[in-house]
């Protein structure tokens, strides 16, 4: 019987290796029905997702909090080309009777080498692809800013 924790760990390793070296290699991991929410921006479909992730990603350093209006605005938006993920933790649980797996990752993102690393969290739901492997159905990515 397939071990969902092993599958999750192997997937995460492959995912970030692909992401950090050649983002186009992520394409086979998504399908037409896949969803990505990247820093609040929703996208659907493998092609659109890879387009969003390819080459340049805009990531804000620190948000400006307007407490009165309860809004966050990003004062500075940095496009970057090189990124390296450092996974701190991977948790997995079975998500459905059809063999889905929920994965929660926490880690650090190093952008263009000389910048300060940022903490992030990413959740995936992996679904069996019917051919012995898995694809990403749900994908949510969030930077986690220091609490204080």
């Amino acid at each position: 019987m397939a071990d969902f924790e092993t599958i999750a760990k192997q997937f995460v390793e492959f995912y970030y290796q692909a992401f950090d070296s050649k983002r186009e290699n992520l394409l086979p991991l998504y399908r037409e029905q896949s969803m990505l929410t990247f820093e609040n921006a929703p996208t659907q479909g493998a092609t659109s997702i890879i387009e969003k992730l390819k080459v340049r990603i805009h990531v804000a350093r620190t948000p400006l909090v307007n407490r009165k209006e309860k809004t966050l605005t990003f004062a500075k938006s940095l496009p970057f080309k090189d990124v390296k993920h450092q996974v701190a933790s991977v948790d997995a649980q079975p998500s459905s009777e059809s063999g889905g797996i929920l994965v929660l990752v926490a880690g650090a993102l190093i952008v263009d080498e000389e910048q300060k690393p940022m903490s992030y969290t990413q959740a995936f739901q992996l679904l069996p692809d019917g051919q012995g492997s898995y694809f990403v159905f749900n994908d949510v990515f969030r930077l986690v800013y220091p609490a204080a």
Binding site: M35, S96, L104, A108, K116, T121, R142, P146
Partner: protein, 125 residues
Amino acid sequence: MADFENIAKQFVEYYYKAFDSDRASLAALYGQDSMLTFEATPLQGVGNIIQKLQELPFKEVQHQVATLDAQPADAQGSILVVVSGALLVEAEKRPMSYAQTFQLKPRDGSYYVFNDVFRLVYPAA
């Protein structure tokens, strides 16, 4: 706003209000098949889950939600929710960042927590 987003927001608000005021009342949000992984400790079933949450080494806690994202998780109305925020615990002077993901499944006209994963997120550098 999409329905699943509304449901997710309402759920998260209710969840943390219950957590921060009366942890035992969270029992209504879980089922016998629910799973919680709390800082790497896996648990199953509402009884074990509530026991774990009540045994956490603090009396007073306050969750402050910074971000909330939701996506449909299947064709039956299940919802994936991803939360990031800060946790203020009585003994600690500084709040801690955390990430939590839930999968909500429909039950009797409402929703319950089927999957729950909680992790503290430490500063990257």
